[in-house]
């Protein structure tokens, strides 16, 4: 089983890298989906089959589809790719990379030189959906409710934000615009 873990880990890392650094948005998304699938495999290997399924269904399925829609709506073809290319200069990513590598180094230090105290591994059984469900609807009931409200808010928010097409995003600007319009009205009146 270890080999599956390693394999899917390599796949996940590779695909994530491709997803992040790819210039073509749709390609990047496809890589990301593959990466998510690989992570789902890892989930499964780690004994969380229910979550693996959810990962595939929700993340790789639902969420990524949303992305695809949006990318398609905003897609401007070759120009976008050229733009992405121009944006991915060395100077753009040099400093962030340094910091991220430093962070990674610290992480490695943490993982291997001060390894976490590991609880004794007891048996190799998976945690079944049944257990998850039990936990979810007993101890974490409040969390579920809140998540539900969050989703609700997300839905309404997304609808609301997506709906308003021509409104200004700040009332000050609106006032300014009103002023400008009244001023121009006055001008036109004067002209008349």
């Amino acid at each position: 089983m270890n080999i599956i873990f390693y394999l899917s880990a390599v796949v996940a890392i590779y695909c994530t890298l491709r997803a992040v650094f790819h210039k073509h948005a749709v390609h990047a998304l496809l890589y990301l989906i593959v990466s998510l699938l690989a992570v789902a495999v890892v989930f499964f290997v780690l004994g969380a089959p229910f979550l693996a399924a959810l990962e595939v269904i929700i993340y790789a399925g639902a969420i990524m589809v949303l992305f695809v829609f949006v990318v398609m709506m905003l897609n401007r073809g070759e120009a976008a790719i050229q733009q992405e290319k121009a944006w991915l200069q060395f100077s753009t990513w040099a400093w962030p990379a340094v910091f991220v590598l430093l962070l990674f180094a610290e992480w490695l230090y943490l993982l291997f030189y001060q390894p976490p105290a590991v609880a004794p591994v007891g048996g190799n059984q998976s945690i079944m959906p049944q257990q998850v469900g039990e936990a979810l609807f007993t101890r974490y009931l409040l969390g579920v409710e809140m998540a539900a409200m969050l989703l609700m808010a997300g839905v309404i928010g997304a609808y609301h934000i997506g709906k308003q097409k021509q409104r200004n995003y700040h009332r000050y600007l609106e006032e300014e615009e009103n002023l400008r319009s009244t001023a121009s009205e006055k001008q036109t009146q004067q002209v008349i």
């Binding site: 991220v100 962070l103 610290e106 001060q114």
Partner: protein
């Protein structure tokens, strides 16, 4: 019915007059204004006369009567009242104040007629009389201070009566501020008295002071010095005398009433009123005498060089009050009060006559541009001459002789007097004669230099006061004859109920006659000298004036011994300079600095808010890195 119960009406009439004029004056006819303004004082004067007669015939117990109207405030026993106190001293004062005021008001009805602000004038004048009456009738020092400041206010308002001219405003301000300096000393003295006695009732203090304080105690020295500060400010004595000559900017009746007859003698009243304290502090009393002496000499010399008729009279007023201070300083209390009364008569007379002259000359003040008025204005001339005679103390026939002679004699003969004090007063008397008759001769003799357009002699309202005051200036002295002549001294006897008699050195009475003779000689010598210099041979004075020493002296005296210039350099300039250096309050800069600092810091942090989302994220990453490193390696 006890007439003394009506005492409160004496100040109340002028107050009522003031209130009516202040509230409704703008709608009143000028005749009504004159009636109200003068009538209120007249009522007051009649009442004073009535009370005075009662006081003489049926005196109250111990010759003192007090009337508490209401308690001003009462804080743990410190309870000054709005309370009046009548004794011979205050009776003399209210008598002089009401009568002289009445005649001056009467004079003003005609004198001020052509002026706008007629109602304002009478309102202020009535307020002044009220304040002055409160000052002398107060039974505690706080109420006295109320009157004291009230008269100061009226003096300020009336000096600046013609408010359009900045010069008048300056003179008014100067008078108010200079006297205020003295008043501040006065009020600090009051604080000291409160601390010591927990009361400001004059009689209580006077009774307790000899018990609490031994002679020459530090506290009593301080108190008397501080009160003296108030007195010299109000009475225009050295070193606060500079305001009075400038105060002549006011209308002439004002000069007559406030700056000659009544207000400026408030200092004399204060010292006489608190004489017990001064007796406890002989050093300060000597200081009073010295101040009086120096002032009378300095002012006399200054008067000698003036050209402005009113300024001559102003300096002469300062000088005459110097005599009163001299008298107070040598313990001749009654002599000081006597001179106050006589001086009020003749100086008011002189000012009123001078006002008539100035009116006839169309606001010309320079005596050298007048001349020859004797024939055209006989009433004015004769009354002015009587007043001048009193001022110069012509023996026997003028009241001034009796009062001034008494002071000179006491300066010599009193236990606190000395030859030098007498000599100073004697020289001063000579100078007085010189400048007085210089003024008379230059104004009324010689050629007429300017025609008279409107002769004030036609105004009865102006001439009656002159005649009455002239009569008083002659007969006023006969109520107090010199010791050497006869023991006819009803005035002193009357005041003895309040003020202690003068202690004379033994065997002095015999010398009095000598001194009187000397005085008489210098008076006539002085008259002759000025006649010589200004009538007979005017070239004499002119040639003296043309020598360089003469001109230097003239300038020096003309400018009042340069006191104005000195104070200007010493006090006025620095104060103005200090005010000007920092009009915008440097403290504000400190807070402004805080503000600037905040803006600066804001500008620094504002840079971090660049608007680049990725920059924010990088910051977050750095933050994570930092926290991790902190946890791991620290």
């Amino acid at each position: 019915m006890d007439v003394f119960h009506l005492l409160w009406l004496v100040p109340a009439f002028p107050l009522a007059g003031f209130l009516i004029l202040a509230l409704f004056g703008l709608r009143l006819h000028s005749r009504a204004i004159a009636w109200i303004g003068t009538g209120s004082i007249g009522l007051s004067a009649i009442l004073t006369l009535w009370i005075g007669v009662h006081f003489l015939t049926q005196p109250p117990a111990n010759y003192q009567y007090s009337l508490t109207l209401w308690t001003w405030f009462d804080i743990n026993g410190f309870a000054p009242g709005i309370a009046l106190y009548l004794d011979p001293l205050s009776l003399v004062y209210i008598f002089v104040i009401t009568f002289v005021s009445f005649f001056i008001h009467l004079y003003s009805t005609a004198f001020m007629r052509s002026n706008e602000g007629y109602v304002r004038f009478f309102a202020y004048m009535n307020l002044f009389v009220f304040s002055m009456l409160v000052l002398v009738l107060a039974n505690n020092l706080l109420l006295l201070y109320l009157g004291w400041e009230g008269v100061g206010l009226c003096s300020f308002l009336l000096i600046g009566f013609w408010y359009r001219d900045e010069v008048n405003g300056y003179a008014a301000r100067k008078a108010f501020i200079v006297t205020r300096i003295g008043d501040t000393a006065f009020i600090i003295g009051l604080f000291l008295l409160v601390k010591q006695f927990h009361t400001l009732n004059i009689q209580d203090i006077l009774q307790q002071a000899p018990v609490v304080w031994s002679a020459g105690a530090t506290a009593v020295v301080w108190v008397t010095i501080l009160l003296l500060g108030g007195a010299v400010g109000k009475s225009a004595q050295l070193p606060l005398q500079t305001w009075l000559p400038d105060a002549m900017a006011g209308p002439t009746p004002v000069s007559a009433l406030i700056h000659a007859a009544t207000m400026v003698t408030a200092g004399v009243y204060l010292i006489a009123r608190t004489h017990v304290l001064y007796s406890l502090a002989p050093a300060v009393q000597l200081l009073v005498a010295i101040i009086g002496l120096l002032t009378l000499l300095i002012a006399g010399f200054s008067a000698l060089a003036q050209h402005d008729l009113k300024r001559i009279l102003a300096y002469s007023t300062i000088s005459q009050i110097g005599y009163m201070f001299l008298a107070l300083g040598v313990g001749a209390w009654t002599a000081a009060i006597f001179h106050f009364m006589i001086h009020a008569f003749f100086k008011a007379l002189l000012f009123l006559a001078a006002g008539a002259v100035i009116m006839a000359m169309e606001e010309e003040h320079d005596i050298f541009k007048m001349g020859g008025l004797r024939k055209k204005m006989p009433v004015t001339f004769w009354t002015f001459l009587v007043g001048s005679g009193a001022l110069a103390a012509i023996p026997l026939i003028t009241a001034g002789f009796y009062s001034k002679d008494l002071i000179l004699f006491d300066a010599f003969a009193s236990t606190q007097g000395s030859f030098w004090l007498w000599l100073g007063g004697f020289v001063g008397a000579f100078i007085t004669v010189l400048y007085t008759f210089r003024m008379v001769f230059v104004t009324f003799y010689g050629e007429q230099k300017k025609p008279i357009t409107h002769n004030p002699e036609e105004e009865k309202a102006m001439m009656i006061p002159l005649v009455v005051l002239a009569v008083l200036s002659v007969i006023g002295g006969w109520i107090e004859l010199p010791h050497a002549w006869a023991h006819f001294t009803p005035f002193s006897d009357f005041l003895t109920h309040v003020l202690p008699p003068t202690n004379l050195k033994p065997d002095m009475e015999s010398q009095e006659f000598m001194l009187q003779l000397l005085t008489a000689v210098i008076v006539f010598a002085g008259i002759y000298l000025s006649w010589l210099a200004y009538v007979k041979k005017p070239a004499l004075s002119a040639s003296w004036k043309n020598t360089s020493l003469g001109r230097a002296c003239h300038d020096f005296f003309y400018k009042g011994w340069m006191f104005d210039q000195l104070y200007d350099k010493l006090f006025v300039k620095p104060v103005v300079w200090i005010s000007r250096i920092d009009p915008h309050d440097f403290i504000d800069y400190i807070y402004e600095g805080f503000g600037r600092l905040n803006v600066l810091i804001h500008a620094g942090f504002s840079r971090t808010q660049s608007g680049y989302v990725r920059w924010y994220l990088l910051c977050i990453a750095i933050g994570i890195l930092f926290i991790f490193s902190l946890i791991l390696f620290v």
